[in-house]
Amino acid sequence: MFAPERIRLIKGMLLDKVHINVSDLSTMLNVSEVTIRRDLEKLERENFLTRTHGGAVINTQSPTDEDFVEIDDDPFFQQRIEISEIALHMIEDHDVILLSHGLTNLCIAKKISNKKNVTVLTNDLNIASELAANPSIKVIMPGGDLDVNSMTLVGKLTEDNLNNFFVTKAFIEVEGVDPLRGFTVQSMDCASIIKEMINITNERIIVCPYKCFDNIAFSQIGPLNLANKVITNPSIPDQYKNYFFENKIQLFTAFNSYEGGM
């Protein structure tokens, strides 16, 4: 195993367990204790951990991933990253896609940079400014009223403008999923925009972390069977897995069993 791979595994294990000892690491990674000590020294220089007698302890407030320090107050950050990786596989070069407002979609936007000639339609200013850094991606924003809290465009003008476009895939981020209330979001303005968005796409892809399941937000978008695909985390309740499979909706759950495990 090479050093970067080893260091990644050690980081993963530390994030999981806070404390770890050298002899365990040496057995698990099948390298000598000297090598492990050297890896730990390196991580200590990076301020990731503090070495202790025979082991190491993670530093509180370790940056989990350098690119994403700015959203460190998001408790579902890791889940969103995993979801966005699945979403990324669905986006092909030259695709025309839509990203609705939300943190998961922002994660998708951050990762989209390795695609070529993708056109993104969005009403979220954060997503737009994230994508602006990448010259090979074309960003289109509808007009409308700016909602300063969420930094999104909403209102009648936005809805009318969206109607001028048609995309192949719309990634719709929701905040509540419930068998009776269907898909929901908190903001009423946002819900009415999303209702417009689902009419201008070939494929409706719902994204949200597992926490949104069995949760009802204020404003309804539509029933569960409006989705063509759903991307979330594996720990959602079994009843949803049954429902989606039986109603012929593709359910993608972001397993992450290769990372951190041995």
Binding site: D16, S23, D24, T27, M28, N30, E85, I86, H89, M90, E92, N228, K229, P234, S235, D238, K241, N242, F244, F245, E246, K248, I249, Q250, L251, F252, T253, A254, F255, N256, S257, Y258, G260, G261, M262
Partner: protein, 500 residues
């Protein structure tokens, strides 16, 4: 009025949440060969089990010669003249052929004293074999016969039992061509004497050769019955497969890489002949075929469990000799077996021990296994794969099917297999675990693993695979890319109805 020999009216049987026989109506006339066709899991066996008394029906009526009968045990069925020939031998292994054949009507020296007339039994048996043209000796112990020979003995047994209704469950699946011809001769003879036969088969050509009528069963319902004379093959296949699919399987599009596995001219045993195929990096390659077409045999050969007679296997363009599962594991191959209870797991070991079984070097501290590390690693997989256990020390036997399967997957994930063979990975497990397994497959391919998926579930194969190999009689009858795969064309290739 002339009654059919056997008539089923509105027979219902609920077997589980997901499967039931619904309102089965079927009739069988004297001297008729009635073919029953349907995919695996469509309810054929359940229906037959009801007729020969192994299962009781929930509601409905069964008539023989127009009289309502109740069949509550195989003994009842036998008394009514119903005999069943199973796909797998149900003979007494340690007895002679003759004893097995005459088990129900042994010739006695005198009626009062139940002393068996051995000489008569063996000479009767020999006369029977000469008449039927079987090259057997009645004194051979059944244990020493091969599968096909046992099947023929079963047929003889039904022949002498004076049964009026004989059920044959894929009788030719273990027979070679000449043996099958012997069987067909017996069937013709039986027909002449007025015996009716329910004949379960997947093979279109033999159905056309010996069948009179055909009924197609799907999802527990009889879809239709028609005469074999002038039968429309496409129509039958359409009846078997049913409606169009919407996408339900979460197939993640992933760019395929270079060739990782190349199998050349693989032959093994009598079952598989001249198999050639390649597998690309990140590809999910499906293998389908009917029972007995050799689909699992291929997997066992690649995993070093079964001996390869001729042929070569290349991994990353390097020729490998896989003489044992250990060789295969060293070459980066993992195998999730069809039978997880006997071959996939150590049922009486706990979850961590099962997960680390092929990965002992990763959890051992010089010579001894470090149980602490073993458990730490197992815990990671339990939480990441959502394996539901009572405690981590639960024995594998106590887990549900879906969770057992996740344990099997965990051990191959841990061993970082680069080529994973999944043999019926979702058989007999709940829907939620199924969906999880499909998504674990997605994760694997995104981590550069290549997968061979062997399954009897055609929808699953179409839903998840990039390419599909169809087997018929141990040979590849077609390789179908994802875009062209439909239930109709796959089943046609699998039943020998179409040749590419």
């Amino acid at each position: 009025m002339l009654y059919p020999l056997l008539e089923l009216m509105h027979v219902n049987k609920k077997l589980s949440e997901f499967f039931a026989l619904k309102d089965i109506c079927m009739e069988l006339n004297k001297g008729e060969v009635h073919v029953l066709m349907g995919e695996n899991g469509s309810g054929k066996s359940t229906l037959m089990n009801i007729i020969w008394g192994a299962l009781s029906k929930d509601s409905g009526d069964i008539f023989i010669d127009g009289n309502s009968v109740s069949i509550s045990s195989p003994m009842d069925a036998k008394r009514l003249g119903i005999a069943m020939i199973h796909q797998h031998s149900s003979l007494f292994e340690q007895f002679t052929i003759a004893e097995n054949i005459y088990i129900d009507n042994k010739p006695h020296i005198s009626k009062g004293l139940k002393i068996i007339d051995w000489n008569k039994m063996f000479s009767d048996c020999q006369t029977l074999f000469e008449k039927l043209g079987f090259p057997f000796n009645g004194k051979t112990i059944v244990r020493n016969l091969n599968v096909a020979e046992k099947q023929l003995v079963e047929i003889c047994k039904a022949y002498v039992s004076n049964a009026r209704i004989i059920i044959m469950d894929e009788p030719t699946s273990s027979l070679t061509e000449p043996e099958a011809l012997l069987l067909f001769d017996i069937i013709k003879e039986l027909k002449k004497s007025g015996v009716a036969i329910i004949y379960i088969s997947h093979k279109l050509e033999e159905i056309q050769q010996i069948g009179d009528r055909i009924s197609v069963i799907r999802d527990g319902e009889i879809i239709g019955t028609q005469n074999i004379m002038g039968m429309d093959v496409d129509n039958i296949i359409h009846m078997m497969t049913g409606m169009e699919l919407k996408e339900r399987y979460p197939k993640l599009p992933v760019k395929l890489g270079t060739e990782v596995l190349n199998v050349k001219n693989l032959c093994a045993g009598t079952t598989i002949k001249n198999i050639n195929f390649t597998l690309r990096k990140r590809e999910i390659l499906g293998i389908i075929g009917l029972v007995g077409s050799g689909r699992s045999k291929i997997a066992k050969c690649i995993f070093g469990m079964d001996k390869i007679d001729t042929g070569e296997i290349y991994i990353y363009d390097k020729k490998v000799n896989l003489n044992s599962p250990a060789d295969a594991i060293d070459s980066g191959i993992g195998y999730v077996t069809e039978d997880r209870t006997t071959e996939g797991l150590f049922m009486y070991l706990n979850v961590p021990q099962n997960i680390s079984a092929p990965n002992i070097s990763k959890v051992s501290n010089r010579l001894l296994i470090d149980t602490k590390i073993e458990e730490t690693i197992a815990n990671t997989y339990i939480s990441k794969l959502g394996i539901k256990v009572g405690t981590i020390h639960d024995k594998a036997a106590y887990l549900s099917g879906g969770n057992q399967q996740k344990v099997v997957l965990a051990k191959w994930i841990m061993s970082k297999s680069k080529i994973l063979i999944l043999d019926e990975p979702t058989k007999g497990i709940d829907i939620a675990s199924k969906v999880d397994i499909y998504n674990v497959m997605n994760e694997m391919v995104t981590k550069d693993v290549s997968i061979i998926l062997i399954s009897a579930d055609v929808d699953e194969v179409i839903g998840m695979c990039d390419r599909i190999i169809v087997l018929y009689n141990g040979k590849i009858s077609a390789v179908v890319p994802r875009k062209e795969a439909t239930r109709e064309n796959l089943l046609a290739y699998a039943t020998g109805g179409k040749h590419k």
